[in-house]
Amino acid sequence: MTMPSKQTVQIHVNGVLHQRDVEPRTTLVDFLRDELALTGTHVGCEHGVCGACSVLLNDEPVRSCCMFAVQADGMQVTTVEGLAPERGCLSKIQDSFCEKHALQCGYCTPGMLIACHALVAHTPHPSEAQVREAISSNLCRCTGYQQIVDAVMHATALPGAQP
C-alpha cells in the first residue's frame, strides 16, 4: 500500500480562510475536527444517515462525513461555531434551543442547529410541518424531537403570534 500524496486546499470556514495540505481521502469532518480543531461538528453514523456532522457548504446543509475536504476547496463552510452573530452571543435559534430544552446530551445538537439555520435562511417563518420536514434529515436519540420543533417555532414566530 502506498501512502496517498497530499493536496493543497483552501477553504473558508466561518469566514476565515484556511490553507492545508491534506490526503485526498480526508473527509471534510475529519478536516474540520483534526486540522482546524473545530470539534463542534460531530461524527455519528459515518454514512450520511444521522446528520450529526452537518455543516453549511455555500449556505446549503451537507453531510461533512460524506464528502472529502478536497471537494470543498475554494468553498465557504459554516460550522456550529460560526452560527452565533458574534462571540459571546447566541443566534435566535441557539437561544431558543436553550429556552425550550431542545437538547439533552448535545451530541446531535450542532447538526440540528445547522438544519434549522438552513431552513430559516430561506423560510423565516416556517410552519410546524416545514420544521419537521427540515429536521427529518437528522437523528436525535434523547428528546423525541418535540422540543426541537417547539424551539424553532419559538424562534421564528411572527411578532404578536403565540409561539
Binding site: M1, M3, E23, R25, T26, R33, A37, L38, T39, G40, T41, H42, V43, G44, C45, E46, H47, C50, A52, T79, V80, E81, L83, A84, L90, Q94, F97, C98, E99, H101, L103, Q104, C105, G106, Y107, C108, T109, P110, L113, L139, C140, R141, C142
Partner: protein, 570 residues
C-alpha cells in the same frame, strides 16, 4: 413535604446550565480529547461467530511507517486480569480481546496502534489471521440441550444463571382461579444506539504511575474495575468525569475498550485514543440489550381479577457475561407491574450463545418484563371478551392501598395509577385516535392502538446484585456531593460522575442554591475526577435526582448548619 415552605428554585423553569456549551459547539466529548503525541487504534475483528484462532501474522502491518504496535488477545490476556460476570460463574472470564478462540462475529482479535486512525485502519487490513471455524449456537433454547456446542467449555454448560423464585401460594392460587391462560412472547434483541459511539483516551505517566482516562462512560464502579483489570491500585487510575457523553441510555460501559487502551498507553508510553467507528460500535461494542423468550401463565377470575402468575424468562446474553444476567434481576422489584397479583413464580434463566454480548440497556430488563405482562393482559381481555382498559382498571393497585407490598418483597411507596391512566387516555386523546383508526381501516389500511402500563423502579439501589450472586456483598449504592465555599463566598459543588444528557450540573446547582439561598446560576458544579471527588455509583437506574440530589442537599445543609453555629458563637 406538604407542610414545607414552597421551593424557590426546585421544580421551577430554569435553563439547563449545560445547554449553552452544547449549542455553541463547545461540548467536551471523549473524541474531542487531544493529547500531545497521541496515537490511534483500529481493530481487527473476527468475521466468524465461533472459531479457533490458529495464527496471527502482523509483520506486514508492523512494517508500515507510522505503525507503533499490533497487540493480540494473547498478549493482553497475559498482562491483565479478567472481568468477572455479575453472577457467580468464575469460569466465564472475559478479556477485551479473543486469544485462543473467537466467540462471536465482531469480537476483537488484534489492535493496531498508529500515528493516525486512517493509518491504523490501513495496517489493520494487513494483519493476517488464520481461523478454523467451529460449531456455533445462536438459538437460546437449543443452547440448553446437552449436545449443544459450549460457548465457554470450562463453565460446563451454556446456562450461566438459573433460579426459580416462588413468592406466595402460587399452586393454591392457580387451583382457585376460574381460568388460566398460557402464552409465549419474545422480546427481540434491542439496542439504544447513541449517536456518539464509544470513545476513550488514556495517558500513562511513568513518574507518577497514574493512568489518566477520558471516556464516554455511564458505568458503575468503572474506575475500580479498570484499575483491577490493569493490575493497578485503585488510586493508580484517574478517570476524568468532565467528559460530556453523547448519549448512553445504559450502554456506554466501555470497560473492555478502556482496559485495552489503558494497557496500550502504558505499554507504549504514549497517549492512546480509540474511537469506535459505527461498525465497531454495532457488532462488537457494548450496544446490544435484552433478548428474551417469556413463557407466562396467568391465573384469573371470571370478573377479570388477576390472581397469580408463572413467568419463565430465558435471556440470551450472548457470548460473555457482564452485568447482563442482572437485567433479569431488576424486574424482581416490580414483577407484578401496577397490578394486584398476589402470588408469583419467576424462573429467571440466562443462557450464553455465540452472539455479541448483551449489555445494560435503558430500563435494565424491566421493559421486556412489562411487555410480557402487558401482552398477557390483552390476551386475558380477549379471552373474557372484556374491554382491555376496563380489565386494567379493575386490577390496578388503588391509591388508598399504598404503601403496597408486592409478592416479591418490594414496597411500592405511593401512586395513583387510575388517575395516571385517565390522564394518558385524555392526553392522546383516546376518542380521537379511535376515530383515526376507524377512518384508516375504512380505507382498507391496517391500523391499531396499543394500550400498555409501565412501572419502573427508580433510585437504582441494585439490591438485585446480592440476590443474584450470594458472593456479592453490595449492601448499598451511595452517591455523594462535595460542597465548597471559597474566600469570596462563592459556592462550588463537586460530583464524581460524567453526564450523558441528564443535566446533573443543573440538578446539583438548583438543589444547592435552594438550600443555601443563592442564585442557582451562581453555583458552579464541577465534574471532578475519580481521585479527588467522593465516590459515586454513576447515573444508572433513574437514580440521580434522588441520590445525587439528596447528597447535594445533605452537603449544603451540613454547610448551612455549621455556618449558623459559627454565627451564634461569635
Amino acid at each position: 413535604m406538604s407542610d414545607a415552605a414552597p421551593f424557590r428554585y426546585i421544580g421551577k423553569h430554569r435553563r439547563a446550565v449545560e445547554h449553552k456549551r452544547f449549542v455553541v459547539g463547545q461540548g467536551h466529548y471523549a473524541a474531542d480529547i487531544h493529547r500531545q503525541g497521541m496515537l490511534h487504534v483500529a481493530l481487527v475483528a473476527s468475521p466468524y461467530a465461533s472459531a479457533k484462532i490458529l495464527s496471527i501474522d502482523a509483520s506486514q502491518a508492523l512494517a508500515m511507517p507510522g505503525v507503533h504496535a499490533v497487540v493480540t488477545g494473547a498478549e493482553l490476556r497475559a498482562a491483565t486480569d479478567p472481568v468477572l460476570p455479575g453472577v457467580d460463574a468464575p469460569q466465564v472470564t472475559r478479556f477485551p480481546m479473543a486469544s485462543d478462540v473467537a466467540r462471536y462475529a465482531g469480537e476483537w482479535v488484534a489492535a493496531v496502534v498508529a500515528e493516525t486512525r486512517a493509518l491504523a485502519e490501513d495496517a489493520a487490513e494487513l494483519v493476517m489471521v488464520e481461523y478454523e471455524q467451529t460449531a456455533h449456537i445462536i438459538d437460546p433454547e437449543a443452547a440448553l440441550h446437552s449436545d449443544a456446542p459450549l460457548v465457554h467449555p470450562a463453565h460446563g454448560s451454556n446456562l450461566i444463571f438459573d433460579r426459580k423464585f416462588v413468592w406466595g401460594p402460587v399452586e393454591e392460587d392457580f387451583a382457585q382461579c376460574d381460568h388460566q391462560l398460557s402464552y409465549r412472547v419474545r422480546w427481540a434483541r434491542n439496542a439504544t444506539v447513541p449517536i456518539e459511539t464509544f470513545a476513550v483516551a488514556c495517558e500513562w505517566n511513568d513518574a507518577t504511575e497514574v493512568l489518566d482516562v477520558w471516556a464516554s462512560i455511564q458505568m458503575p464502579k468503572f474506575p475500580d474495575q479498570l484499575a483491577k483489570a490493569l493490575r493497578l491500585p485503585g488510586n493508580g487510575v484517574r478517570v476524568h468525569f468532565d467528559v460530556d457523553v453523547g448519549g448512553s441510555y445504559g450502554v456506554k460501559r466501555g470497560l473492555k475498550h478502556s482496559i485495552m487502551v489503558g494497557y496500550l498507553a502504558k505499554k507504549l508510553g504514549r497517549p492512546v485514543r480509540f474511537v469506535e467507528d459505527r461498525l465497531e460500535n454495532m457488532r462488537g461494542g457494548d450496544m446490544q440489550g435484552p433478548d428474551r423468550m417469556f413463557d407466562v401463565t396467568l391465573g384469573f377470575q371470571n370478573d377479570g381479577t388477576l390472581r397469580t402468575m408463572r413467568m419463565r424468562a430465558l435471556d440470551d446474553i450472548g457470548a460473555y457475561s457482564g452485568r447482563s444476567p442482572l437485567q433479569l434481576g431488576k424486574p424482581v422489584g416490580a414483577i407484578v407491574g401496577p397490578y394486584r397479583i398476589q402470588s408469583v413464580e419467576y424462573h429467571a434463566m440466562a443462557v450464553m450463545t455465540h452472539k455479541t454480548p448483551q449489555e445494560a440497556v435503558r430500563g435494565f430488563g424491566q421493559a421486556p418484563t412489562n411487555y410480557a405482562l402487558e401482552t398477557g393482559i390483552d390476551k386475558v381481555a380477549r379471552f373474557l371478551k372484556m374491554d382491555r382498559i376496563e380489565l386494567r382498571r379493575r386490577n390496578l393497585i388503588g391509591k388508598d392501598e399504598f404503601p403496597y407490598l408486592i409478592p416479591s418483597g418490594t414496597h411500592y411507596d405511593s401512586g395513583d395509577y387510575a388517575t395516571v391512566m385517565d390522564k394518558a387516555l385524555n392526553a392522546a386523546p383516546l376518542t380521537h385516535i379511535v376515530q383515526e383508526r376507524d377512518r384508516l381501516r375504512a380505507q382498507g389500511m391496517l391500523a391499531g392502538i396499543g394500550i400498555s402500563t409501565c412501572l419502573e423502579p427508580s433510585g437504582g439501589n441494585s439490591s438485585f446484585e446480592p440476590l443474584f450472586n450470594p458472593k456479592n456483598q453490595t449492601t448499598t449504592w451511595m452517591d455523594s456531593c462535595l460542597v465548597r465555599v471559597d474566600l469570596s463566598g462563592t459556592v462550588t459543588a463537586l460530583m464524581a460522575t460524567s453526564t450523558s444528557g441528564q443535566a446533573h450540573e443543573t440538578l446539583v446547582s438548583t438543589v444547592v442554591a435552594e438550600i443555601l439561598h443563592r442564585a442557582p446560576d451562581s453555583i458552579r458544579v464541577i465534574h471532578a475526577d475519580s481521585l479527588n471527588a467522593l465516590p459515586s455509583n454513576s447515573p444508572v437506574g433513574s437514580r440521580m435526582a434522588i441520590m445525587l440530589g439528596g447528597a447535594a442537599a445533605g452537603a449544603a445543609k451540613k454547610f448551612a448548619n455549621s455556618c449558623c453555629k459559627l454565627r451564634r458563637t461569635t
